[in-house]
Structures are given as structure tokens and as C-alpha cells.
Amino acid sequence: MIIKISECCGTFAENKDKARDLREEKIKPAFSSSDEKITLDFSGVDSSTQSFIHALISHFFQSYGEDALERFDFKGCNKTIKSLITTVINYSLE
């Protein structure tokens, strides 16, 4: 499953309501219904916030630990997005 973040959140992905909707309506059902990889495609996203990335993915790492790493691919991330994703995953796994 591929979820293109820019389609719903634009070039600055910061709207936590949208992150929650993606998490609840798309990512959670895909995560629990099969072993299919979930690709979060950040192509076209210039920047984001810690809060947005947290609302999008922290649940999976807090709940499933390092196993969640095997389920996600993060595509098209620039350095800023990579930093934010790494930060959120790091503390979610603590």
C-alpha cells in the first residue's frame, strides 16, 4: 500500500487532523489486516513538524516496537523529513 502524503497534506505536512485521519482510516486498517508493506511517500513534501509525524506513525512504534520497522517504507524523504521521522521513531521506541 502506498500513501502519498502530499496529496492530502500539501508541501508543508503539519495538519495533525489530516495525520490522524490517515492513521485511523488508512494505515491502521492496512497494518492490522495483512503483512503488506505500507509505503509512506513524502515526495513533494518540503517540510513537516514533529507533531504531524508523531500523530502519523508514533502509535505503531509505541504499540508494536521494532517490529513496526519491518512494516513501513518511507519514500521520497528529504533530509528534514528524514530527521523528523528518525526522531519520532527513536523516542517512540524508548
Partner: protein, 325 residues
């Protein structure tokens, strides 16, 4: 009749000037607003403060009168930043709209999530910045304004305004709301005995008003204010947050000292003051001085490391909190 005196200079450095010649006792519900007669230099935090105070007046049926000297040289600035409009007065001097050539965001009210998203899209053309140079400002705007929308319970949203100095590559930001304040916002799952205690907890990484759990929930990490404070600290700038009767003011870290992101705000190079006039909502001012993407990426990594380290330490400290009686 009560008075509200607006002094000649309000900045993050000398924020206490806001209290000079004011007792902020508006119990007679009539306020006369006066300005320093010669000059009024105002950081966006001052503008945001008076905008929230004006909301408080309206919400509590407090009427105002105001007088101002036309000799104040900064009148056009105050006017273009929307101060008089926020105080519910007409602009004192005529200005043409096309004179507003940018590098500032006048007082803007944000009342919804979608409204915030729309506002953030307008920043680059207004500040004459690019998506690279405004990345940090947008991050700060988003984190702080979403805090207001989610936690303040303010019936009319929050205020934001900013100036950008291109030569110094520095943005100054003011954000406020007339909501329930930090103490009430944090009290759902924790017990605090003072505004100071609640405010310092709000600045501590991993503590959120939405849960007792360290590290927050799937919606909130309890990290937004910590990240924002660290952004100011990283470039040796000021950050101030005021709610209830207390403010926390991050002072500039001396140039010969290393910057350390302390999880406990009491360890910061800061001033914490309580017993101040009661401010019902939350007021935040910050100066930001990061323009290049690489520095921002490294900063996020460093703040993230500090957050993780703090969380780990706090969880390990659980044993200290087990009560054997």
C-alpha cells in the same frame, strides 16, 4: 476607572516593562488605555499580549476608552501590525494598503485547523522568504498555534503576528490566546499547586496535558513547547511563555558557553517569575534565527536526542516515585 498604560518599549529582553505603571485590576469593568506619548517600540509579543487582553475585555464585558498622541513615531508600524484593530478601535492615521510592502505578518486570528493550514501557505509571500528559509518559522507557528486550537479551549482561537529582519535573518514572533491557560490545560491528568509548576511541566519533554503517560499519546508527544524552546536556545535567542501569574523567560546563552538542551527547564539559562498580574490565557514570544535547512535538520536531530534521553531517564526514575509507607 482602571487604566492600561502601554509603555514605550516592549521586547522579550525587557518584557517586564509591560507591568510598569499597571496593576491589571479591571474589576470596575472600565479601562482607559493610554500610550507612552513619544514612542512605542513593540515586539510581536506585545502586540499578541494586547490582542488577547482585548479578547478578555470583550468576553467579560469590560468597556474601554483610549487616547493616543499623533506624535508617536511608530504609529504606522503599530497600525500596520493591527494593534488598533485588535483593540477594537479605528486606525488613527490614514495609510494606503499598497504601502504594506511585507516582511511582517500583522495580528492574525486563527480559529480552525484548516484556517491555520491556509495561513501557513501565505507566509512566504508575506515575509519574502522561500520554503527553505521559512521552514523553522512555519514549524514554530504550526506547533504553537495547534497547541492553542487543541488545548486552550479559547472560544475565538488565537492571535499570531511576526516580523522578519532580512539582514539579521531573524524572525520575531508573538502568539497568544484568551483561553483557559496552562494550569487548567495541564490539570486533567496531573495535580499542580501553582501556575509555575504547570508551566514548567508543559516545557518538560514527554509531559502532556492529555495523558498521565510519559511520552504522551498517539496524538500528542508533549514535545511541542520543548522543541520550540530549543529552537530559540539553539541560536542564542529569547523565548518567553506567560500564563496565569507566571512567566518563563529563556535568556540568551552566553557565547562562551555550550548550548545544552536541558529537559528540566529549571536548569536552563532562564528567569522564572511568579506572582505576576493574572493572564488568563497563554502568551508566547520567540526570536528565531535559523535560515538554512542543514542547520534545521541537525537541530531536529539534537532536540530529538535530548527528548529521547529525557524520556528514558524519567521512565528509569519510576522507582523513585514508588511510595512505601
Amino acid at each position: 476607572m482602571s487604566t492600561l498604560y502601554i509603555p514605550n518599549s516592549i521586547s522579550l529582553h525587557n518584557f517586564d516593562s509591560i507591568f510598569s505603571n499597571n496593576d491589571y485590576d479591571f474589576s470596575d469593568r472600565k479601562v482607559d488605555i493610554t500610550f507612552h506619548p513619544k514612542y512605542v517600540a513593540m515586539h510581536p509579543i506585545g502586540l499578541a499580549f494586547y490582542a488577547a487582553l482585548s479578547d478578555h475585555f470583550v468576553a467579560n464585558g469590560i468597556s474601554t476608552t483610549a487616547s493616543i498622541s499623533y506624535e508617536i513615531k511608530s504609529l504606522p508600524y503599530l497600525q500596520r501590525m493591527g494593534l488598533f484593530d485588535a483593540l477594537n478601535y479605528l486606525d488613527p492615521v490614514p495609510t494606503k494598503k499598497h504601502e504594506e510592502s511585507g516582511r511582517f505578518i500583522p495580528l492574525t486570528r486563527i480559529t480552525s485547523s484548516d484556517g491555520l493550514t491556509s495561513f501557513l501557505k501565505t507566509i512566504d509571500p508575506i515575509l519574502h522568504t522561500s520554503s527553505d528559509t521559512s521552514r523553522v518559522v512555519k514549524h514554530v507557528f504550526s506547533e504553537l498555534l495547534r497547541n492553542i486550537l487543541e488545548h486552550s479551549m479559547s472560544s475565538n482561537g488565537g492571535h499570531v503576528c511576526a516580523t522578519y529582519n532580512k539582514n539579521k535573518r531573524k524572525s520575531s514572533v508573538g502568539i497568544s490566546d484568551n483561553g483557559r491557560g496552562i494550569l487548567k490545560g495541564m490539570q486533567g491528568y496531573r495535580h499542580f499547586t501553582s501556575h509555575k509548576e504547570a508551566l514548567l511541566s508543559a516545557l518538560t519533554p514527554g509531559i502532556s496535558g492529555t495523558t498521565k503517560r510519559l511520552g504522551g499519546t498517539q496524538e500528542n508527544a508533549g514535545a511541542g513547547l520543548f522543541f520550540t524552546k530549543c529552537i530559540a536556545q539553539s541560536t542564542r535567542n529569547h523565548f518567553l511563555i506567560y500564563s496565569g501569574d507566571c512567566y518563563f523567560k529563556l535568556r540568551t546563552t552566553p557565547k562562551n558557553e555550550n548550548i545544552i538542551f536541558h529537559p528540566d527547564p529549571r536548569d536552563d539559562y532562564a528567569r522564572i517569575k511568579e506572582g505576576l498580574p493574572y493572564f488568563p490565557g497563554t502568551l508566547i514570544g520567540i526570536d528565531i534565527h535559523i535560515a538554512d535547512t542543514e542547520a534545521f535538520n541537525k537541530l531536529i536531530d539534537r532536540i530529538g536526542d535530548a527528548y529521547s534521553h529525557s524520556l528514558k531517564k524519567m521512565k528509569k526514575d519510576y522507582y523513585k516515585r514508588i511510595k512505601f509507607i
